[in-house]
Every structure is written in C-alpha cells, then in structure tokens.
Symmetry: C2
Subunit: 432 residues, 2 copies
Amino acid sequence: MLRPLRRPQVVIVGAGFGGLQAAKALASTPVNIVLVDTHNHHCFQPLLYQVATAALSPADVAWPIRAIVRAQKNVRVIMAQVTGVDVQARRVHTSEIDLPYDYLVLATGSTHSYFGHDDWAPFAPGLKHIADATEIRRRFLLAFERAEVVEDEAERTRLLTFVIVGGGATGVEMAGAIAEVARRTLRHDFRRIDPRKSRIILLEAGPRLLPSFPEHLSDYATRSLQSMGVQVELNRTVTGCDAQGVSLGGDRIEAATVVWAAGVVASPAAQWIGAEHDRAGRVKVNADLSVAGRPEIFAVGDTATIADRDGKPVPGIAPAAKQMGTYAGKVIAARVLGQTAPPPFAYRHLGELATIGRKSAVVKLGFFQLTGFLGWLFWSAIHIYFLIGLRNRFVVAVNWLWSYMTFQRGARLIGIAPGSLRSPSPPLRRGG
Amino acid sequence: MLRPLRRPQVVIVGAGFGGLQAAKALASTPVNIVLVDTHNHHCFQPLLYQVATAALSPADVAWPIRAIVRAQKNVRVIMAQVTGVDVQARRVHTSEIDLPYDYLVLATGSTHSYFGHDDWAPFAPGLKHIADATEIRRRFLLAFERAEVVEDEAERTRLLTFVIVGGGATGVEMAGAIAEVARRTLRHDFRRIDPRKSRIILLEAGPRLLPSFPEHLSDYATRSLQSMGVQVELNRTVTGCDAQGVSLGGDRIEAATVVWAAGVVASPAAQWIGAEHDRAGRVKVNADLSVAGRPEIFAVGDTATIADRDGKPVPGIAPAAKQMGTYAGKVIAARVLGQTAPPPFAYRHLGELATIGRKSAVVKLGFFQLTGFLGWLFWSAIHIYFLIGLRNRFVVAVNWLWSYMTFQRGARLIGIAPGSLRSPSPPLRRGG
C-alpha cells in the first residue's frame, strides 16, 4: 500500500506511565498523535494510598494531561471513553468522536480483580484512581466518626476494624498508613472512643508479605507492621465480602472498612481488538510489543504480557510501563522514518520499594538493599523526584515534612456527593 | 427550677465561623459542649471560589473540626445531621443520636437562594461548600474538554460561554478567576479551540457590582473585569435557567456552565424551633442574640437577623458571624457562672474585600481603601492569615506564589463519581 501524503496518525489510548512515554518518544517524529484518556489528568498511582489515607490531596498526585504534553505540538489530547476498535477500518470508536489511526498504542492499564467475585466490589473498594482513593478516605474517616456516636459495643468494634486484603506493596503501605493515622493522628481527637484501639488486619493469601522481595525483607516488613500494631495474617484466603465484613472459610471478621489490594486485571483492550490474552486479560505481544497479526497495534504496560530475558513475566509496575511505552514509540518512529527497527524489547529491572508508615521502608535495587529510616528517606526522594512537575514535588515535600514533624494529615476530608449539593445539611452517607 | 448538680450541656449546631467562635468563647467555662456538623471539616468559604477555579485543593480551605478543637477538652464533636429540635424537652434530634441541651446555639449558616426557582439548581450550582466547588470545577473544566472534540460550531460556542449570576464579591471573584484560567492557564493546552475566545458573562440585577462597596470601587471592579475580557451586564435579571443556558426576559444566553452567586437563604433552623424569621429564613433575635421567648436558644451568623447600631442589618459575612459566635458564648458563660450579662451585641464593621483575578483587588476598611496590586497583596495577606492552621497558610501561600509566577493552577482535576469506581474507563459525565 502506498503511504498517503499526510502525516501518519498515531492514536495512544491511556495517559498513564506507558502512554505518556510513548507520546514523548514520538516528540520529534513527523506524526499526528491523539492521546485519549477517560480522565483529564495523569495519576501518579504509587502515591495514591497517601490520598486514601488523607496525607496528600488528589491534586498532589495528579496532573492535567494537557499541561504535561503542552509543549509537544504533535500531540492532541482528547478526554473520551474508548468504546471499541475497528481493526479493519483502523478506527478507534470513542464516546465523543471516531479516531482513524495508522498506528495504535494500547496503554489502558489495569483495574483491581476480585477473582470472579465482582459482587464484592461495593464492600471492598480497590485503589486504582483518584475516585477510589477519595472513596476509601471517606469510608475510613467516617468509620471513626460513626464509632464515636454509636451506642452498641459490637458495632463500635466493627467500625474500628479495618481489613486490608492483599500483602503486596499497596496492601503493606495502606496497612502502615492506616495504623499510623489511628494510633497517632487521631489519638486526641475523639472523646468516647480511643482510635489507638482500632484493629488493623492485613490479610495475605500467600506465605509472606511482599512476595516479589527477598524473604528477609518480607520478614522485616511483617515485623515493622506488627510493631505498629498491625495484625498480619498470612495464608488466609478471603471467601466472602459483604456489608458487615469478610469471611475466611469458616472464620469471620466483622469490619466496616475493607480495602482490596489483592489482584489486578487488565482493561478490556484485548477484547476491543480481538487479540489473544492471558487469564488476567493482558494482550500477548511480539518481541517488538506489537500484537500478533496486527503490526500497527502495540500494547504496553499492564495491558500487555511479555517475558523478560529470564523468561519471567515483566512485572506490572510503573518503570516497566514506561520502558514499554518508550520502546513502542521508538518502533513507530523507526517505521515512519523508514529506519531499521530497534532490537527486541528487553526489560531492565531497576528494583522495588515499599514504605511502611512514616519512618520505615524496604528497598531493593539490584544488590543494593535498604530498610528502616534510611529506606524511607530513599523512598521519599525517589517518589518526589518522579512526581511530574516541579510544584507537585515541592508541595508533596512540604506536606510530608509537615506530617512527619506533627503527625498531622492535611487532607482529612469526608466528601459529600455532588448529588446532595443544594441541601444545606446533606444526609450522612454511611460507609461500608 | 433548681439546676442539677452536673455541668450544663451546650449544643452548638454548625462548625462554621460562628459555631467555632461560640465554642472557643466557652473554653474555660465549666460546661459540656457538643459541636454538631454534617461535615467533618470546617470550610473557609471566602476562598472556596479558588477551589472552584482549580487554584487550590479542597484540603487547602478545609480543616477537620476535631483537629481545630482538639485541645479544648470540654468539646465533643459529632458528625451528624440535625433533623429537628424539641424545644419543650430541650433535645436536638440528629441522624445519629438525640442531644439534650441546657443552651443551644444555632450556627447553621445559609445556602444559595434561587428566589423561588429551586428547579434552576441543577443547571446553575452555587458555591457554599466543598462539594459545590468541586462540582463547579468539574463542569468548568469539562466544558473546555468537550469544546475541543465537538464538531458543531454553535455547540462549541455554547460550551465556551460561562455565565456568573450575581455581582457581589463571590460573583466578581469567580468571573475574574474564570477569565484568568481561560485566557492564561489554558492558553496553550488545546489544539482545536482557543480558550482565550471564551465568553465570560457576569450578570447583575442591580445597577452596579459590589453594591456594599463605595461606588467608585464598584466602577473600578467593572473596569478591571472588562480589561480581563469579562462582559459585565448590569440591570439584568435572570428569568430562566435550563440545561442549555439562561433566559433574561426576552433575551437568551446559550451557555454550558452557569454559576449561581445571586442570593442566600438561611438554613431551616428557624423551622426547627418554630421561631419568627425574615423572608430569607433568618431567625429574629434579641439584643443578646437569644430567640424571643427562648432565652436558652441563640442564633448567630447567617442564621440570625439583627440590626447594627445604625439600624442596618448586620451583613452575612465571616467577621459578623465570628463576632456573634463569640458574643453568644460569652452570654452563656455569664449565665452559667452567675455573672452580669454582657452589654447588648454591637457589630463592629471592619470592612470588605474582593479580589479580581491574580493582580487586583478592592479593599475598604473604614476610611482606608486600596485597589490594584496593593489591594491584591493586602487581600492575600489577610486571607492567608485567617486560614486556620499554620500548614494551610503555608501551602496556600506556596500555591498562590506558584500560580502567580507561572499562571498555572495546581488542582485541575475533573472528578469522576465514586459510583463509577470499578470501571476501568468510567463513562464521561456530561456537564450542564
């Protein structure tokens, strides 16, 4: 087919870590890029748990996509929901307009998976975007408010029980932060209840926390959480979730607040293009991240599954998504410019970090490992560095310093739904 | 009646400026205070328009009530909605529990009034609390997003038309801030539309803006807004509001975003106690701010109506609410301690301020008047000073400085409703 005398059209779906890097890699290539996202902002997911636990405001971990790509004149940003892809006609259908493409990059990310129990979702929200974080914050803070007024002892205990399902980085970070808020931040704020008596339970189905870390760091994380008053329960599988709590086989935990940090499933991108995918819905991609039989379509980040040089799957973390986004952009650039294709995608594993409360973290970067306060300092520096935009870095640093010195949290807001806008005293929305 | 051998119970409904001051005035009095609010946070309303226009985050202008009164051990905070008052039994009914009282302070504030047209509310939200501000922010930012993708010329014009109804301080501040965002912040962020071509229309029913200011300051505000590209329309009365725009008698403005800043009505507190009230629902109070025939019930701030020494009604602004709250607290303290009652309430008018965009303001404090940049500096200093809590002052100052230097705004988030939590790509919610 002769290439028409116009700039090739590149549609990138999703402005997460992968999509933004793909756009950036094409900055000096003569293409027209359309970057589509359902949100107007890029969300810095690694810090989302800090919004959920009232340490940071949503705007501290989110940045308008338009502002990020403002200077890149070959990018047009569209806020729309993708409804499907016509792979024959090479068009992306969205809620707003149709977008023709010559190259398509699918960078739609993942959401939390309830392993076939989607009915648990209302009782155990996960943590993937800003709205999830503010909803968890609302439930978590409201539980203390209700415990303060309720007369029934059992109900008060249930309100002061917080269950986090899943012992990966998000679960460990949530458990540590919730323990800290209960034991320190809220300590003197109630008259009838003692927030320090809250039960914070971290459930992990496997034999240890942070399974991707070396075993001694898992043990360190368990001990650190226990010293903060978190009850760590290993080898425990949730078999039911309802408005009153969670079931574990024959056991039962009555809890008003349950947070889901147990599993992820890819977005429906594989279905849009009818591509082969794994059990988690991730598109199987070739060594150049293109989709089998569709060399013009690429999948990156959590949308794709590919093995690294050791045959292990590339992990679903931000650095991997960024590397894949950059690589897909380079492949497209090479094709557009008629240059040699880059060598097959090779994932470079930089390491992993997880923080445990306000003074401890576990860090593993190759042979380099850190724990405790030094780990926490390293973790803070890395995260502030990667936050997009000078001002966010500065505001986040100020907020952390302030929280660290005073034990206070700056964003303790219980949101009221916009639906109740006009009422001078909207009814209390109940958590759980 | 013999006073029982227990501490008198003081119930304060509302933790706005009036309610918080009443609690503070009773800090060293041997009473048990219950402070009830539907929200868990005190909202600094004078800066709410900055949240609505994406300059500040909700947490920058809101502060947990519990944190504010933490050190005052005679205060118990309850998050609940008041549903009524039994004045005979002296009990406040709430959504959570009943609260007996010996003294009751009603500090429930006001909400926006549509002058009998409550059906306009969904199309023209007002600005009284955090949820209002984030809803207006969502509509306002979403209008630009939709304008970028829409094909129809008339619809694009409608999406880029912003109407602010009401030329008081809030209306003037909103109009200035919206003009600034459209003309400066978003200037380079779109590819198909030019946000600078947005129409921002400020409608005022009376003959001049800021009617409580001296006339030359009103004129100054009009000229300043006009130089920023705001179309100021005086003597224009809105006769209809719908999903497409506003009607003004025979005239019509097609606009996707309408903000209501035209009038206020008191909360239903007067109905709870069956008290005499004015047309705006404000309780008529005695010279000691108590309710006629109910010496144990006080109404303060926007909940009350009373004349100042010149016979003019005390204005519904924060300093007035604070003075009334403090006064009511002192009256209660005197009665509890068996001391002489303080002299009748006398309002001290300190002055008024309104800002116009990022470099101008009008200030009137007695004979002292300021306009332009000096006015803006004064306005900023005053507002940062009054923000509760050291950290809020600092973060707000940082945000302002950053906005001022870069024209950027830190909180450009379009919220997605918690209801759409689980979907990896929630449907676009349409504004207007």
